[in-house]
């Protein structure tokens, strides 16, 4: 139960400034959240276009449209754009919009820095995407940027390194802001164990970000000096080791994939109780499970490197540690299912995406368990099975959660309901097509089709064609999503403050759209 008292605030509340400069100089968490979300959507479409090029080339065996080097640039930059430009900014945008409201605070704790965390990103991505127009093209080494391959890149190489540095600076500042906001800006009575799960998962995500983004920064700095300043970190002739980079990269990379998925867990934990009209089952176990996943994420990184020639003890340790992650993740999945058990469920679009998330993320989780088995991984490694696995957890996992939260909170943000029928169509077309797109890739991988290769042998032709058709339909349905978002911003049926019948939480006590300054006076949480 919450009570909100509005007071007139005479020298702070001027409302937004006018014109373009409002967006450039804003310190308002909602404005910055909106900027992040729009930026993420643009990047999602750019990265999606690259995926379309990839699927077009793979539609048939043989070389059709683009040369292999450009194909490799596509796979590399598609991944970098989707991870650092799509999913991460989308979740930071959601955090900006919702965290201060959900904890009953006035804004983010460090508003000026909040502005800078966003406004670094457009520059960083201009730098990254600019590499396409340089000598040697964009980086083509895969997003994992392993040496020595990545060091053979053209003029784009240092630009990519610095773009990653800038994204890192942005992420670390954003994460510091999230943590400080959660620790310092909660309304009276909002104890840690009363916080909505989205707040909890972001708290832990922010910790992971601060811990691992500097590790990536260090790693890419070593790449830079290896190429330009004669260091030999990754060169065996000088006593270094290319495998060292893989360790550094995945020490960042594995927590990074949880950075991409933990906020998704949080979103789904908000949405399912709303539409099941029951409180979340096992709230505290959710918190502990999230913390355990975060802890385990630091000691499993080498499962990405089973085939690199690690000592046997290493293979065994990383295999068993990885399998342990299934325990807290299982706790979460069972909690979501138990929340729905005997609930009075309705299936509006956010709920459809959330249920889609639970089912398809679990499929991705299971294929992850298969990959965790070191001796089996020798067969799957660097095949389309891996591609299928991480697209199930990232597309039908992270991105489905982002879609779910967009539909869930759009009425709150804009004051307008989206068109429910359009939302449902979007969900069903996406869900059918995404499975046509990625499910056959499991079979391709098991049969031995390698990833990151523009051509393939003839026996893989049929599954690849299905996959491409699924890809094109999925791509088109995301254009439809953009249209739905645009229409909702423009107008539509007015949303109530509560929006959803079963919704609980501070964000639903504010008007839709909420006032420019959310809680100028802290609500009291009882």
């Amino acid at each position: 139960m919450t009570t909100v008292t509005e007071t007139h605030d005479d020298h702070h509340d001027h409302g937004p400034a006018k014109g373009l400069m409002r967006w450039v100089t804003t310190t308002n968490h909602k404005d910055i959240g909106t900027l992040y979300l729009i930026f993420a959507l643009i990047m999602f479409m750019i990265g999606g276009a690259m995926a379309m090029v990839i699927r077009l080339e793979l539609f048939q065996p043989g070389m059709q449209f683009i040369d292999p080097s450009f194909f490799n640039q596509m796979t590399t930059v598609h991944a970098l754009v989707m991870i650092f430009g799509g999913v991460m900014p989308a979740f930071v945008g959601l955090a900006n919009w919702m965290l201060p409201i959900m904890i009953g605070g006035p804004d983010m704790a460090l508003p000026r820095m909040n502005n800078w965390s966003f406004w670094i990103l457009p520059f960083a991505f201009a730098m990254l995407l600019g590499t396409f127009f340089m000598d040697g093209g964009a980086p083509a080494s895969g997003w994992t940027i392993y040496p020595p391959l990545v060091l053979q890149g053209g003029n784009g190489f240092p630009f990519m390194i610095f773009a990653i540095h800038m994204m890192g600076i942005s992420s670390v500042m954003g994460a510091i802001n999230v943590i400080v906001t959660i620790l310092n800006m909660r309304a009276p009575g909002m104890t840690l164990m009363k916080m909505p799960l989205f707040v909890w998962t972001w708290f832990i995500t922010a910790y992971l970000l601060i811990a691992v983004m500097p590790v990536l920064a260090g790693g890419v700095t070593m790449l830079l000096t290896d190429k330009f300043y004669d260091t030999t970190f990754f060169n065996a002739a000088g006593g270094g080791d290319p495998v060292l980079f893989q360790h550094i990269f995945w020490f960042f990379g594995h927590p990074e994939v949880y950075i991409l998925i933990l906020p998704a867990f949080g979103v789904v934990s908000e949405i399912i109780p709303t539409f099941a009209r029951k409180p979340l089952f096992g709230y505290s176990s959710m918190v502990y499970a999230t913390s355990s996943i975060a802890f385990l994420s630091f000691i499993v990184w080498a499962h990405h490197m089973f085939t690199v020639g690690m000592p046997l003890q290493g293979e065994l340790f990383f295999m068993y540690a990885t399998m342990l992650i299934a325990v807290p993740t299982g706790v979460k999945v069972f909690n979501w299912v138990s929340t729905m058990w005997k609930g009075s469920m309705t299936f509006e679009t956010p709920m459809l995406f959330a249920i889609g998330f639970v089912i398809m993320f679990t499929i991705g989780g299971f294929s992850g368990l298969m990959l965790a088995i070191a001796p089996a991984d020798f067969q799957y490694h660097d095949t389309y099975f891996v591609v299928a696995h991480f697209h199930y957890v990232l597309v039908t996992g992270a991105i489905y959660a982002i879609m779910a939260s967009a539909y869930y909170w759009l009425p709150k943000w804009t004051g307008n309901m989206y068109n429910e029928r359009h939302g449902q169509i979007h969900f069903w077309i996406s869900t059918v097509s995404v499975n046509v797109l990625f499910f056959p890739q499991h079979f391709l991988g098991l049969a031995g089709m390698p990833r990151r290769i523009p051509d393939y042998s003839i026996q893989f032709a049929e599954f690849n064609m299905w996959s491409s058709i699924g890809g094109f339909v999925f791509g088109l349905s995301q254009v439809f999503f953009c249209y739905i978002v645009y229409k909702t911003i423009k107008g539509g049926e007015k949303a109530t403050d509560q929006v959803w019948e079963g919704a609980n939480g501070l964000e639903w006590t504010l008007s839709s759209p909420p006032p420019y300054h959310s809680f100028t006076t802290a609500p009291v949480i009882k």
């Binding site: 605030d9 005479d10 702070h12 100089t25 800078w116 610095f162 300043y229 260091t231 006593g239």
Partner: protein, 287 residues
């Protein structure tokens, strides 16, 4: 509650976009420079100047707000937590270079010499290589060199930095007890010791490059040595600049015994570079 008690939310932040432009010019110019462009260094210089301008402007605004009593306990707490978590991110940045050093010393060099799983690498690629530390690898990269000793300049530097930690804390005690003279003298000593450290470090580098033939290109020993000490030296320089600003602010009469976040943040940062140095002294110079 009245609006006087509301959390302070600044408006119209114009400095972040200046910072983004500066950062992009600096790094974009740097990348062009690395690609062999001849005019890129002037772009870098412009970017650097824009960043300096941004820092003057941004910090100036915050200092002005602080001195006019805009911040109370609750905003102060945000700054403190922010700085603490920033230092944690710095810890992780150094951790990756230490991690690389340990990995190289414990795993990759012995493996190159045939230990454990590295038998065939050694036999077929580098049959005569034996694991030693320091090493410039089986390819003798960068040619003959000598190790940087621990008990010359580095030992003096250790003393300088540890002493500066003491003077910094002494200055802090002065600030808390409202003994302004102790504050200013303590800070001045700290800054002096800090820049003396940087100067000796530069001397050590020139000794390494000119007399020991120890360069960044001296295999993996040269790489880890210069990257670890170099990034540390850069952080000491930044910390010393921060403390210099604190010194000037103290002389202008800023800070009160209750309210001196900026001083404390700089002091935390200083102790952090201090601790990193101890790790460097032990694992890079000594062992």
């Amino acid at each position: 509650m009245s609006s006087e008690n509301a959390y302070y939310i600044p408006h119209d932040a114009k400095w972040p976009i200046v910072g983004s432009v500066g950062l992009t010019l600096l790094l974009g110019g740097f990348a062009n420079e690395l690609n062999g462009s001849t005019s890129a260094s002037s772009v870098m210089a412009v970017g650097f100047l824009v960043l300096v301008y941004m820092m003057f402007g941004w910090f100036g605004e915050v200092i002005a707000e602080s001195e006019t009593g805009t911040y109370r306990h609750v905003e102060d707490a945000s700054f403190r937590m922010g700085m603490a978590w920033f230092i944690f991110s710095e810890v992780m940045f150094f951790a990756v270079f230490f991690g690389a050093l340990f990995y190289i010393r414990v795993f990759s060099v012995p493996w190159l010499a045939g230990e454990g799983v590295g038998v065939s690498t050694n036999e077929f690629l580098w049959p005569n290589f034996e694991a030693t530390w320091p090493t410039n690898g089986p390819g003798d990269v960068g040619g003959e060199y000598q190790k940087m000793g621990a008990w010359g300049l580095p030992a003096i530097n250790t003393l300088l930095l540890l002493t500066s930690g003491v003077t910094c804390t002494w200055a802090h005690w002065g600030l808390i007890a409202n003994k302004r003279k102790q504050l200013i003298v303590g800070l001045a000593l700290t800054v002096l010791l800090g820049f003396a450290f940087v100067g000796l470090q530069a001397l050590e580098y020139s000794h390494g490059y000119q007399e020991l033939n120890l360069t960044l290109g001296s295999g993996v020993y040269g790489s880890t040595f210069y990257m670890l000490t170099g990034f540390h030296g850069f952080h000491v320089t930044v910390g010393a600049i921060m403390l210099t600003v604190m010194l000037f602010r103290s002389m202008k009469g800023h800070f009160t015994p209750e309210n001196h976040f900026a001083f404390e943040a700089s002091a935390w940062y200083w102790h952090f570079v201090d601790v990193v140095w101890l790790g460097l002294f032990i694992f890079v110079y000594w062992l």
